[in-house]
Assembly symmetry: C2
Homo-oligomer: 450 residues x 2
């Protein structure tokens, strides 16, 4: 009996249409990365388990896909003994960050630092599949490592701004700084409560000032501390004004002041660069508090309800675990699947993406086909995407094919056209029809491009 | 202790330079596929083991990478019981053909047939790594399924011709036909000896006519049969003449005559299409004799010693195992790694591939950087790839960076330039230096493009 074809849960096939749309997103992002001098790298889908294990927390270790040692090794395993190293020594890429760190350390002598790289590859997680969450999905990361300058943060903001301008999506770029959060925790005497404070700030819109204050107190902050934070909780005005307000209470924290210096420098750069998206300070951004050490970024679509579509930040010791300490880096990751949903939802994919084929020559028999072949070849030589319907069958079937593939032009060359050395062309959208000499490529192309 | 970073044997990292070179190959191939109306698809890296098992022979089953069921399932497995289905139900893609067949059957109602698809994705094999053989490598397949017309074979020949013309590599395209081989075996009364006969023909250049005849006899053919094959063994002349010679002895085999009809039709098409590569009939092509049913293709570089760099053929029942019988298809696969080696060996990669960055602005301090930021942004807006060195450090270090990344232009804007509103530019290859007004983007770009 034939097998019923299926794919593993949480994975996807991408057909013609989706590939065209996904390539449009990736090509747009890539074109922007290029103008900033980022180089593409690719790493293997399989990494040594020793590279992956322990890098994503206990939960992450569970979500890693492990690959069985190949055939022979597997056959000889004594399954009563400890399994793991004997059975598995490789796992599938879980994200692009750990492989990037491994790459930087392994190739440190070939790399020019600061190293600006981007990477667009699939990753795998043994997560429970659900709407919008897959077991295989692409990540699209851009990072620069080996430089502490805020110029790098600026460039990432510029890249985000440019990508979404090109994709015609209005976004809000939110920026926080881990050092400022540390500073807030320090000035109220609770340097250990960074996360609690940030999480409480995040609830301000939902539960209001009084409830946030209460939540902070319930986490162990005293009234005086919470009072000190009040100007931050009610932070308003321009980004400059927000920084000034924070400065007024931050004097007690050296780290906090450095964070404000960073924010101030970055916003100065942003102003001189001329960004078209809204960029705003948002102290409630709690992304990656465990590993980000400076800037924290999050990007939201202004006109579409969905979570963050891009995010990242600065980290100070990504490569330490592989033996290369003190490498500061900063990067962001574009969420391809969510960006896809935003473009679908806002109907922002360009119209031309659906079909790559511009003209279909119908198949009217073997003599007519022999006549068409050199014409088709000449048009392809001029960059036109041409199909010759391979089989001589009913025209209805050939029309259907053009329709299903959304091919905009059809040419039917029968005996008369062959005898006269002509090419007949029809615009399937407008119905307009015209006949050209078979050597009049310019005329034909002009008609196709109208 | 820090882990020493490494990757699994047989896998590779691709850095900036290799990615640029590999993308050049893939982009070239893709651009040709596009003009023939082939659509890109992608399938998951993981397929159900039931999809993969038994499709690549016993050896293939051993070379499949199996993925352990995820974390929790693994923990509860009773390893004394039968292992396979409990521990593993997914495996890594082994080639692109089986996933393509699975895709066609699974999505048959969404697909417009004949279905022309291409697919460029990595595959994995638990093979012994050696020079030129990897455990992870890209395949680049183009197929059309659902049409028996020789127009499809023609298009694949045109595609191969165009790809290697664009890559500036002279190739010889060799064509065989399984039905002709069947015919040869039939006319000498040994329809079961197709492989033996083909393998013997393949040795003609090496061991000579007499030895080939002897080999055939040692495989059980009698002298009369071998005598009947002699005109084929000494086949010469143009492709047309070769076909005529074969026709003269093939009358006894209906299948053989059909094969010759196919070859004749295909070569007629090829002649009218105008192919610049050498295309020749080669009866010794023994590729895929187990599954190809019509045309067999193999492509060799004319000026570089390496195995076949592209190959394929027609198959008649690819999708049968998944429940969709009678779908004839034909396709070829480009060997990306070998093509890479050919281009390296013949020094055919374009000069401009090495660096994507066109100009580096040196970092002379924060005031100068603030001055540069909008200029860099404006140049990027015009499509120029620009880097601003992020850190204010010794010029020597910044020069080294430009050198290592092979950035052709450097701009050093110090206090004088800032005060005068100028941009100084240096061509690092020629040493030529020029100064422009900071608003003279046209002048700057013209200098960069010279």
């Amino acid at each position: 009996m034939a097998q019923k074809p299926s794919i593993p849960k949480g994975t996807r096939d991408f057909g013609q249409q989706e590939m065209a749309e996904r390539n449009y997103i990736f090509d747009t992002i890539r074109s922007v990365f290029r103008t900033y001098g980022y180089s593409q790298i690719e790493t293997p889908a399989m990494e040594n388990l020793s590279t992956l294990m322990g890098k994503y927390g206990e939960e992450g270790d569970k979500l890693l896909y492990r690959i069985l040692n190949s055939g022979d090794a597997f056959a000889e395993v004594d399954f009563d003994k400890a399994l793991a190293p004997q059975v598995c020594e490789k796992g599938l890429r879980y994200d692009l960050t750990v492989p990037f760190a491994r790459f930087v350390v392994q190739h440190q002598n070939e790399i020019a630092f600061p190293f600006k790289r981007y990477q667009i590859q699939p990753v795998w997680r043994a997560d429970r599949p659900q709407k919008g969450r897959y077991r295989e999905f692409y990540q699209c990361d851009v990072d620069v490592i080996g430089s502490k300058s805020q110029i790098n943060e600026l460039e990432l903001v510029q890249i985000v701004d440019k990508v979404f301008t090109l994709l015609d999506v209005n976004v809000i770029i939110k920026i926080n700084n881990r050092k400022v959060l540390t500073g807030l925790a320090e000035i109220c005497g609770h340097p250990d409560k960074v996360v609690d404070i940030t999480v409480a700030i995040d609830k301000l819109d939902k539960i209001g000032l009084q409830a946030v204050k209460e939540e902070m107190m319930s986490k162990g902050l005293d009234e005086k501390s919470v009072g000190m934070l009040e100007p931050v909780l009610t932070l308003s005005g321009s980004n400059k004004e927000k920084i000034a307000t924070m400065r007024s209470i931050m004097a007690g924290s050296e780290t906090g002041m450095r964070g404000l210096d960073e924010l101030e420098e970055l916003f100065g750069f942003i102003e001189s660069a001329g960004i078209s998206s809204t960029v705003e300070i948002d102290l409630s951004l709690a992304r990656g508090l465990n590993y980000y050490t400076g800037a924290i970024f999050e990007v939201k679509a202004a006109d579409f309800q969905i979570g963050s579509i891009c995010g990242g930040g600065r980290y100070d010791n990504l490569t330490g675990i592989f033996g290369l300490p003190d490498m500061s880096g900063v990067g962001v990751s574009f969420g391809a699947d969510r960006i896809y949903d935003v473009l679908k939802g806002l109907d922002k994919f360009p119209a031309g993406l659906r079909s790559s084929t511009e003209i279909l020559f119908a198949n009217m028999g073997s003599d007519e086909t022999a006549y068409i072949i050199p014409i088709a070849a000449a048009l392809r030589g001029r960059g036109i995407a041409v199909e010759v319907y391979p089989d001589s069958c009913k025209l209805k079937k050939q029309f259907d094919y053009a329709d299903r593939k959304a091919i905009p032009f059809l040419s039917i060359c029968g005996g008369d056209e062959v005898a006269a050395g002509k090419v007949q062309l029809k615009n399937l959208n407008s119905g307009v029809q015209e006949t050209f000499s078979k050597d009049d490529l310019d005329g034909i192309i002009c008609f196709l491009k109208k």
